[in-house]
Subunit: 93 residues, 14 copies
């Protein structure tokens, strides 16, 4: 098994684990926020504008942590600096 | 075991784990959001329009994290860049 | 153990794990949603139409994550691209 | 240990794990739904028709995830495509 | 260790794990359902007919997931297709 | 280590694990059901007949999952089909 | 290490694990049942006869799962069929 | 490492694990029962006789599971049948 | 590594694990019992005699499980029968 | 496998794990904060300015821990000092 | 690695684990007891003498389990009987 | 693999784990503190000055534990004393 | 790797684990006690003297378990008896 | 891999784990204390002086456990006695 194979194998696993595990937290958190927003709406329908706005800002913040994971997952799959180095090395060989 | 076999094996496992584990969080979160929406509907039936709309936006946000996992799973199975490289290498060999 | 055997073994395990583990989340979530719907019905029988409709939409969303897992499980068992490649290779050999 | 043995061993384990683990989620979820239905019946006996109907639809949805696991378990035991391939190979040998 | 030994060993372990682990979920779920039924009976003794009927239907559904595990466990012990194949092979040898 | 030793070792471990782990769920569930029955009795002593009857039916259902584990444990120890096969083989040898 | 040693080692470990782990569930469950009985007695002292009787039946059911584990543990230590076979073999040797 | 050493090592570990782990459940359960008894006494001091008597019966039942573990632990340390066999073998050698 | 070293190593580890892990349960349980006693005292100061007496009996029962662990830990360290056997063997050698 | 390959492999895994795991805590925490803010808004709509401001400050603090993880993840991928050293070493070789 | 080194290594690890893990339970339990005492004081300041006395007795009981761990930890470090034996052996050698 | 490679590999992993895991606790804690502050604000808007001030002091204390982890992570990456020693050794070689 | 290296390695790990893990329990417990004290103060400000005094005694007791861990950690690092023995051995060599 | 490398590797890992894990407990505890203080402030604003003072004392106590971990982490990184010994040995060599 040469270096390129090692890096391929590790990159595939890492890409999957990062997003597979990293989606857990944001999903739970968004579920909680949405659940809380719905309870709040039922309790105070008049404040629906403020509640909805606050919910969307909050969801955006939470989604950002999912995005971090997705970004790292994509970097590892498509613009992996270590893979690029070894590809260049193999080409230059 | 050559490189192509390694990458095949790892890609299959990763595809399964990513979606198998990544579906856990969104499913729980959607269950929580729906449960909360139903409680809210029972408590404030008049606000059903706002509640339903907020629920759907929330479900869409949560589903997005499941989609991330599904996308990575499909990329790993069908447009895996590392697999393509080694296939090209094997073909060019 | 040649490549075909490795991929067979890994595909069988992955197919089982993916659906076996991936069914956990949706099942819990649907249980929660149904439980919440029944509580809501008991509390507000007049809103049963809205509650039932919201429940069904929610169940469909949650079931979708189980479907993702089932689809990946079936892909791995029956239209596995890596298996097809090596079968073609073995046939062409 | 030849390929057929490996696949046999892995198939047996996978069949057991898939249903053994996959039955956990649906069982819990059905327990929760039934418990909630009983509480709802005690609270609102007049709505028993709606509650029972919603419960049955919900149980059917939840049971479906257990069925997925059972189906994959049976496929792995009895119509395993990889096993069939190697059996054909061994017969044609 | 020949193939028959491997399959024996794996079948015994799988049979035990499948039912040993698979009984966990249904047992918990039935405990919850029965507990909920008893609470409901204490709260609304007049609805005992409906509650009991719903409980029995629910228990039957939950027990079904335990049955799945028991069936797979028995299949693995007594009508294991892989064992049969290798026994036939050994007999034909 | 010959086949008989392997099967002995694995059968002993499996017998212990199956009942040791499989007793966990039913025990918890029965504890919950009994606890709930006692609370119900304290709340509604007049319904003691219905409560006791429902409790006993429930306990029987829950105990059944423990029985499954015990049965598999006994099968593995005393009428293990794989052990019988190899004993016959060793005798016929 | 010969077969008798293997079986000794495995039997000792299994005997300990089975009862050490198998005592966990029944102990918790009995604690819950007793706790519930005491709460029930404090709430409804007049029903002490019914409560005590139900508690004892319940404790007996729960204890039965602990007995299963203890029985398997004793079988493995003192009337282990696999040990007996190999002892007979060693004696006959 | 000969058979006697293996059995010694395994017996020591098993004795410790069995009681170390087996004491966990009964201790928790007794803590729960005692806590519940104290709450019950504070709520209904007049029923202290019944409460104390029920508590002692319950503690005895729970303690019995700890005793099982202690007994197995002592058997493994001091009247271990496998150790006795090999000692006899070594003496007779 | 000879037998005496193996037994030393295993005895030290076992002694530590047994009491280190075995102290967990009793400590939690006593904390719960004491906490409950304090709540009971605050609620019903007049019953302090009964509460204190019941608490002490309960603590003694719970402490007994910690004592079991401590006793096994001390046996393993200071009157270990297996160690004594091998010491005698080494002395007699 | 030379040093550069080792460092590549480890860097890729670390980058994924750090952000994949490190996103869990902040996501949960933000979900909790947002949920609490929505409940607070529903309860005291007049204080929405203070609530929103406090929420944003809190989200910023929580997000900072996610940022730490993302920063370390990026450092490991793109400005890894150990990688740079070995690249310089390889170039100077 | 000779016997003395093995025993040193194992003794150091065991001493650390025993107290590091064994301090967990008592600490939690004391936290719970103190928390409960403070709540009790706030609720019934007049009973502060009884509450404080009961708390101190309880803390002493709980601390005793921590002391057991500390004692075993110190025995293993400073008066380890197995170490003494091998030191004597090495000196007498 | 020489010393420098080992230290590189270990430093990268440690840096990631330390901050990835160490961010979990502070993030949860800050989420809890912020959630509690928002609830407090909703309940007592007049005390917003005191609440906000106490919240900020508390967040600073909690953030300090995250800072510890970040500092150790940075030390390990950029001013690692062991790395410096071996670099000096390699340079002086 | 000679004895001194083994003991160094093990001592460093043990020192870290002991305090890193041993600080968990006391920290949680102190958090709980302080939280309870603050709730008590808010509920009964007049009893602040008794509450504060009881809190400090309790914190001292809880801190003592952390001190045990810290002491063992320091002993292992700085006055390790096993290290001293081998240093003396190496010096006398 | 010589002794210095081993100790370096182990020291780096230990330093990271100790603070990364050891920060978990104090962070949770401080979060709980701060949350409780804020709730107390909202409930009893007049007692803000006592509450704030008690909170700060409590936070200092909890922070002390984090400081222990940080101190051990720094000792291991910068004044490691085992490292110093081997450096002296290497220098004196």
């Amino acid at each position: 098994m040469d270096s390129l194979t090692y890096i391929s194998v590790v990159s595939i696993i890492t890409a999957g684990i990062t997003i597979g595990f990293g989606a857990l937290g944001p999903a739970f958190a968004e579920g909680r926020a949405v659940a809380s927003a719905l309870t709040a709406l039922a309790q105070q329908p008049d404040a629906s504008a403020t509640i909805t706005r606050t919910l969307f800002v909050g969801l955006a913040m939470i989604e950002s942590t999912a995005i971090y994971c997705f970004v790292v997952s994509m970097i590892v799959l498509f613009v992996n600096p270590f893979w690029n180095y070894f590809i260049a090395l193999a080409a230059g060989h």
